[in-house]
């Protein structure tokens, strides 16, 4: 990187941080828990959100912002669950930035409890961009392999929650969930770890309860 590149990057991240702080204040004042989901493509973010929608929507108002480079597919899947969803297509950009989320926030109804933001599928770049969330979750699917935390540390370092997904495939893989979690906890010991199969339901009730508790704690802290 040249000196000029570094200055442009610092400028970009500085601006992002300011806008993220504004989003965090707005979500806080509206009592909304903001959750940013990060992972590689195909780790199961949308399927996880479908499973969480089934478990949360009867007692809580949830909404989803979908980030993708192209297509409205993920938002359509969420809407099919009866959950409001807005698609941001980045048109080439490899991550969401706070300035893309801000304008969508104005369209999110006032009475939402939890706003999930599904980032672009990319285990690297989204980690550098705060979106004003209260909780950052990184997903690692069993087929990706238990060696990924050490190879892609930034996402695991900046997350609050690690969700090991597609646990139903573990019998057909050499994936060791203990090793994956152990490597991630070496990078970031405060990670809360869940292991789920959104397809079969394993661990999904616990994960849904975790978000409900986080919402309660957040609102209690605000009171």
């Amino acid at each position: 990187m040249t000196r000029k590149d570094v200055l442009v990057l610092e400028d970009l991240l500085g601006t992002n941080k300011q806008i993220a702080a504004e989003i965090r204040r707005e979500l806080g004042s509206r009592g909304i828990l903001g959750v940013n989901l990060l992972s590689s493509p195909g780790s199961g973010k949308t399927t996880l959100l479908e499973g969480l929608a089934d478990r949360l929507k009867s007692r809580h108002r949830i909404a989803v912002i979908e980030g993708d480079i192209e297509t409205e597919r993920d938002a359509d899947r969420i809407r099919a669950k009866g959950v409001p969803a807005w698609q941001i297509t980045t048109g080439g950009a490899c991550h969401l930035e706070a300035k893309m989320v801000g304008p969508v926030l104005a369209r999110v109804p006032a009475d939402i409890d939890i706003l999930f933001i599904e980032n672009v599928g990319n285990l690297v770049c989204p980690a550098a961009f705060d979106l004003g969330e209260s909780l950052r979750c990184v997903l690692l699917s069993a087929p990706e392999g238990d060696d990924k935390p050490a190879k892609y540390p930034q996402a695991f370092l900046t997350a609050d929650v690690l969700i090991l997904t597609k646990s139903d495939l573990i019998p057909y893989l050499t994936f060791d969930p203990g090793k994956a979690a152990g490597e991630a906890l070496l990078i970031n010991p405060r990670l809360k770890v869940f292991r789920v199969s959104a397809l079969r339901g394993e661990g999904m009730d616990e994960l849904a309860s975790f978000f409900v508790n986080a919402l309660r704690e957040r609102r209690a802290g605000r009171a």
Copy 2:
């Protein structure tokens, strides 16, 4: 993106293109087939290279440049196969650039036939950076889902070869290899498609033969 960001990016890509052209000339003059492997983290790039090493190394001299954000793990796995490997750790950067590959090239022995370059696990950013390769291969693993080409088009648009990996897992998934290939071919009709399981061996001989033929054609074209 601001006007300043665009100028910096154009500058970066322009410089990359120049260095990539130099690498391409050097590989060409040395009769080396350069192959750039792109995919999400955990799509099986290193396992594919291990399987190709087993099939190619008795009759051809192959070498590998490994790109990772952190760790020497992938290079160690390749070296364990008796194949020379050099690790580039990008220390945060989400893709390889030609300027990172150039200095390593000086260390690649003169009599190498095929030089594989395993990019950083990222289906987005590496697609923008020519590394001077003759063949670009994009891997898509069955667990990632057959909807990925349309969502991450750039990698599929710029590749010469699509390798559908982890076919042994298809019985446990809803993955439709025909749909995945069809979506990719809509984006880029000149893609050559392979379906493999590096673990079980399915399709690996055909893929190895493809690279040997590509090497022959390249050298014949040069003669």
